[in-house]
């Protein structure tokens, strides 16, 4: 089971990374669609996005189509400049920005009314993602460059369940896996273990 999933994932990765090359010979967008939707169905909140002929994956995995006779932009993923986020000097990852490009109140919600927990797991704490967004003073910090655990900060465990430091910072993807629908809310791991995976109190 594990093996097959590894194979499937590697084939998908292959498909994703080789698109620009194949684009020279084939119609890449169709290719992308065919290879992706056949193997990995997103059944969570994205049913909406895959209605009709719109593909499930291309909204997030924007094809880098090099076959067209025009110039490529330096993608936002090469963004070298830092952005002020939760604390000064913090940066947003490309992934966080990608999530926010839909979760801005238009295509998808940028506020939530759900119940939240404090870091020690008791309820009634900070509204975790009440205001998903760029100013996160009342939400969970993303884009924080705090390294986990650090000698300066003893409040953290070394996380084992979540991807704590995609590029050295907390991102939307630290807690969420946009492909994983088993835990609800696209969470990386079950809600009860999620917080204490990083926080130790």
């Amino acid at each position: 089971m594990r093996k097959t999933s590894v194979i499937v994932v590697s084939i998908l990765v292959v498909a994703l990374f080789t698109m620009p090359a194949f684009a020279d010979i084939q119609n890449s967008e169709h290719d992308f669609t065919a290879s992706s939707t056949a193997t990995r169905e997103n059944t969570g909140g994205y049913t909406d996005l895959k209605d009709n002929t719109t593909t499930t994956c291309s909204p997030c995995h924007v094809p880098h189509n090099a076959s067209k006779n025009t110039l490529l932009f330096q993608t936002s993923y090469n963004d070298a400049e830092t952005l002020t986020a939760y604390n000064t000097g913090d940066t947003f990852s490309a992934e966080t920005k990608m999530c926010m490009s839909c979760h801005d109140g238009t295509i998808a919600i940028n506020t939530s009314t759900k119940d939240y927990m404090t870091a020690d797991g008791t309820s009634g704490g900070t509204k975790l993602v009440e205001n998903l967004g760029t100013s996160l003073t009342n939400d969970h910090p993303v884009g924080s460059s705090v390294t986990l655990p650090s000698s300066a900060n003893t409040n953290f465990n070394s996380p084992s369940l979540v991807d704590a430091q995609l590029g050295g910072q907390v991102t939307c993807g630290s807690c969420h896996d946009p492909h994983n629908t088993t835990n609800g809310s696209f969470l990386e791991t079950a809600k009860d273990g999620l917080c204490l995976d990083c926080h130790n109190k």
């Binding site: 009709n52 719109t54 924007v62 025009t70 110039l71 936002s76 801005d104 760029t134 100013s135």
Partner: protein, 343 residues
């Protein structure tokens, strides 16, 4: 049994072969990418005029001189912007502030609109004598007069008949007395008169001409032509004043002219079409026919750069107002000496 072993072997060799192939391709692609991005892109110079960042507490001259003007309410998650060509006033809708902010043409804060009515304004536009605001959270469109006095609202999620699923961008055609509202959740454009009486609905969900997939913003030009940001179809669609499809342009990708996440649209005096993109973090400018002409901005936080740009508007005076939501500001820009006006 033998078959199974054979299959396994084929699988293993196949995998090794494809991995080797892939490594070659990755190397090749990186090279191509590096070469392509090194070239000079068709970036157009802009003059940065000012940043609007929020309400300032406009105290006396002496206080300002001593302490500098203090920003009391910061823009947090702005989305909508509209400039009133009659008065020069700028209206900004911020989803995190339960009111629309009004600024003088010089960027100084002047008034709050709808403080007692709005929950989470997202789209804003003005007619001769009114201000129209879409509130996605309330599911309503609100109408105010220019003094900020509430006139009426319509829609709402609680009523029996659901008017909007998620109203976001809106645009006023003053001449034809029409209000267009992009209903992102319902994947269509709803048309009203300027008193909020329903006229008709344009389009439905789909990818064909005249169909939409999460339309988030709209603009009307002088001839009454309608420009719709059809975000998850990665394109702009243009309609005539009767709602008939004229043309479309854009697709997903990261080359010049692509629109992987279009968010705002505006048309200048020459009919050129400006489109913000929250994936590329810049503004691209197209000819009236939809041919890419040039772009301005890049990802970043310095002046003239953008993070998650949203709505855009252009004044009669040529000033360009871009909501730079990730940097919590509205940037006011101007194109440097105009080139290519006869394109």
């Amino acid at each position: 049994m033998i078959k199974a072993i054979l299959n396994r072997k084929i699988l293993t060799y196949g995998l090794i072969f494809s991995l080797v192939l892939v490594s070659f391709m990755i190397v090749f692609n990186l090279k191509v990418l590096a070469e392509e991005t090194d070239q000079n892109l068709d970036e157009y110079p802009t003059k940065h005029i000012e940043n609007i960042v929020g309400e300032r507490d406009d105290r006396g001259f002496l206080m300002k001189l001593l302490f500098g003007p203090k920003t009391t309410v910061r823009l947090d998650k702005p989305f909508g912007v509209s400039v009133d060509d009659k008065t020069g006033k700028i209206y900004v809708a911020d989803t995190n502030n339960a009111f629309v902010m009004e600024f003088e043409s010089n960027g100084s804060y002047s008034n709050r609109i709808g403080e007692h009515e709005l929950q989470s304004p997202i789209g804003v536009d003005v007619s001769d004598d009114r201000i129209f605001v879409a509130d996605a959270k309330a599911g309503k469109v609100y109408i105010f007069n220019k003094e900020g006095k509430f006139i009426k609202d319509f829609g709402g999620y609680t009523t029996e008949k659901v008017t909007f699923k998620r109203p976001t961008g809106l645009a006023v055609d003053n001449k034809r007395q029409r209000l267009y509202v992009a209903d992102t959740g319902a994947h269509n454009i709803k048309v009203y008169d300027l008193d909020g009486n329903y006229i008709e609905t344009i389009g439905k969900r789909g990818t064909e001409e005249g169909e939409f997939n999460f339309p988030v913003n709209i603009e009307v030009d002088k001839q009454g032509k309608l420009y719709v940001v059809d975000t998850i179809n990665y394109r702009i669609q243009i309609f005539d004043a009767q709602g008939q499809f004229i043309r479309e342009f854009g697709e997903t990708g990261i080359t010049l002219g692509d629109l992987p996440r279009p968010k705002g649209v505006a048309v200048d005096k020459q009919g050129r079409i400006y489109v913000t993109d929250a994936y590329l973090h810049l503004v691209q400018v197209f000819s009236p026919k939809g041919t890419p002409l040039f772009f301005f901005g890049r990802p970043g936080k310095s002046d003239g750069r953008f993070v998650l740009p949203a709505a855009i508007d252009i004044g009669e005076n040529g000033k360009i107002y871009v909501v730079d939501s990730g940097n919590h500001r509205v940037q006011v820009l101007k194109l440097k000496e105009d080139r290519g006006s006869n394109e």
